[in-house]
Symmetry: C2
Subunit: 430 residues, 2 copies
């Protein structure tokens, strides 16, 4: 594999790792990309898989397919178990090791429960394709179980959907779920009226989309309530169990609870034996390298870094892309003998979130967009950023179809062997 | 739900149950459709999901969506646990019962291992969406593991794919897997050449597609061998384990083995306490009713019945459709006071199977088609039979895309919590 050329190992093929691999694909280096999944996931649209609008394969692509033309890149499907920073090797789960001269860690985040890990069982988060199909199954099984349920209170709990956390993911999930209930499922049940389902969005902070300009938060709040979403602000959730949630001193019975409140970085800091912040992110130098290890870069959500203006770099895909590209550029510059430290300069393109099928908000900083204009801008931007021409086409068609027909193509309840299939089995499992 | 009208319960929403429900949707009866899945599956294309050509949602639709306009039909997602033929009720897994005046059982088949159930662990069959994604995962992980494997013998075993049984499913899987290896994955690995993978089709009988005219079997055999599939005839498999298969006195090391050899009817006969044939199918009267129970119909693969010409009705979707329609018509006729026994007359449209991406064979009985003409006829027929206009469109586009680009859209390794993710985990699991 190697012919004495510089060896670059990249762990994680999300936005950051993939950007680094692509930037290095024309460089005189041997690159090894290691990921525990075989696919790159377009996370911004994951909520649409969870709410049955898109197929899993419309937002995910085999990593080695994306990198097929990069002859200097080898893709390995494996889980990293540790890093030996002295021997400069990455240990993977088949027991072998991958040597490196330069290492880029872009391992991303998982959702976190702030010390309440027992909540995960009742309130799954949304980070992977499996998370999305699990949530899709929970949502669809709840309506099926309500159709079978005769006890009015139990039926009410089955038709109550709680989303914890009103960031972009929580807002987008709430809007999609209320439309699933009121539009997609309309007229398809005989014992229940799906449109009577309650969708409750609970946020501990004072406003939705706290990272956006206040006027956009206000607009989003109003839009969600117009859609029929019940939004509760300033009430931290204090308990989540099999029967529902407790917030402040109030209790809400709900069979379906989704967690969109917090994230935790993957164990990169542990691997390196380094100091991490509360969210497990590695504190890196201003060039994204690790203190004392200029050959190790940490990019994207896995790293914590503040810009000269004192603002932290946000945990968004675009920041990960820019970080991965930066790391690749530094490695290439060093190959050319340029060892000067190059600080990472993050350019913030903007924040955006959709509110159901007709509205969105976009905060460019210098200006804001809202309403249907923003929704179309959001749609076009996301279709543009989808990697594969075929997927762009298919996603565009899926959306057009849903837009025109209100129907959703992917309302499938599927599961691994361990998973419950029918409402009764699901009930038995809880 | 009921207003004194005749109550019809239908168990199973495959081709048979769905045809019955649709035929009864305009009749003066209350229909309850019970299925343990929320989706109707277009099984003839399941092998294309297993080989990453189609998405799960392109060949499956929510049952209640298909029946949304049938106001007299209630759909329940539940598993049947028993039938009380005296009280005339169906017991489902939430403990409740569904009463009926007429009952239609269309519960289909699972793959069977002829008393070697321990083989299932090593050689999964292909009947459900979960089966298909499991096989897809096994196929894709094998190539990933081979890319990591350094031992040449182990790598050889990882790149050896065995299909047991050369009926239509076995033939179609073999053709699709060899094309996956030689076309789709070409140039995407650095340590292996996917095209060197061996695809071995083992059949105990003397020819492939035994139900087809001999000339079509010969053509299919030649076509498969031209594609690069190794076809072994007249050699029953005597052992399947974690390392491969034994047939006759020969041993073949293979990490991936797929079972396409036999089926077993679901437990309808047990529920009814009735005599069943070796494959578990209920022996029904010539009008598809159960001996002594004219109000109970068994249709499709769940029943065994011979035509006046002595030929058995084949276990194909079209036979199930005709059976379901027949049962519905008998029920409607009885409502009109016509209680005369109406024998089921099966009209055999034909048998067909594809051989890779360029050829197919169709046996209409009165004439035969083969080659690319048959392939196009097969494609158009299947697109036509796909239920939902959107799916017709998307499947047509997916095929066109694969046909032109050789790329496949659905090469995703996903799993339930219990499932292995990386090659190492998969190895550890076996």
């Amino acid at each position: 594999m190697t012919d004495g050329r510089q060896r670059v190992a990249i762990v994680g093929a999300g936005f950051g790792g993939l950007a680094a691999a692509q930037a290095l694909s024309r460089a005189d280096v041997d690159v090894t990309v290691i990921d525990q999944r075989n696919h790159h996931l377009f996370q911004p649209l994951l909520y649409q898989v969870a709410t049955a609008s898109l197929n899993t394969s419309e937002i995910a692509w085999p990593i080695r397919h994306i990198l097929r033309n990069a002859d200097n890149v080898t893709t390995l499907l494996a889980t990293v178990e540790g890093i030996d920073t002295t021997a400069r090797t990455v240990r993977i789960d088949d027991g072998s090791t991958v040597p490196y001269d330069s290492l880029i860690l872009a391992t991303g985040v998982r959702h976190a429960y702030f010390g309440h890990d027992q909540w995960e069982k009742f309130a799954p988060g949304l980070k992977t394709l499996e998370d999305a199909t699990r949530i899709r199954r929970k949502l669809l099984v709840a309506f099926e179980a309500a159709e079978l349920e005769t006890d009015p209170d139990k039926r009410k709990a089955l038709l109550t959907f709680v989303i914890i956390g009103a960031g972009p993911t929580g807002v987008e999930l709430a809007g999609a779920i209320i439309e699933l209930a009121r539009v997609t499922l309309r007229g398809q049940f005989r014992n229940i009226v799906p449109g009577e389902a309650r969708v409750v969005l609970i946020e501990g902070g004072k406003r939705v989309l706290a990272n956006f300009k206040p006027e956009l938060s206000d607009y989003t709040l109003k839009s969600l309530r117009d859609l029929g979403v019940e939004v509760i602000l300033g009430e931290p959730v204090t308990e989540v169990d099999a029967d529902g949630v407790t917030y402040g001193d109030k209790r809400l019975d709900a069979q379906t609870v989704i967690w969109a409140a917090g994230v935790q970085a993957s164990p990169a800091a542990e691997w390196l034996g380094l100091e991490a912040d509360r969210a497990g992110r590695v504190k890196v130098e201003n060039d994204l390298t690790v203190p004392g290890h200029p050959e190790i870069f940490v990019v994207g959500d896995t790293a914590t870094i503040t810009m000269p203006d004192g603002k932290p770099v946000p945990g968004v895909g675009d920041a990960a892309k820019q970080g991965g590209k930066h790391a690749a550029e530094v490695i290439v510059a060093r190959l050319a003998g340029d060892t000067a430290v190059k600080p990472f300069r993050y350019k913030h393109a903007g924040d955006l979130a959709t509110i159901g099928k007709r509205a969105a908000v976009i905060d460019f900083g210098w200006t804001q967009l809202k309403g249907w204009v923003a929704w179309w801008a959001w749609g076009l931007a996301h279709i543009y950023f989808l990697i594969d021409i075929k997927n762009r086409l298919f996603v565009a068609m899926s959306w057009l179809w849903i837009y025109l027909s209100g129907q959703r193509s992917s309302r499938l309840i599927t599961q691994g062997e361990a998973e419950p299939k029918t409402p009764a089995q699901a009930a038995a499992k809880d």
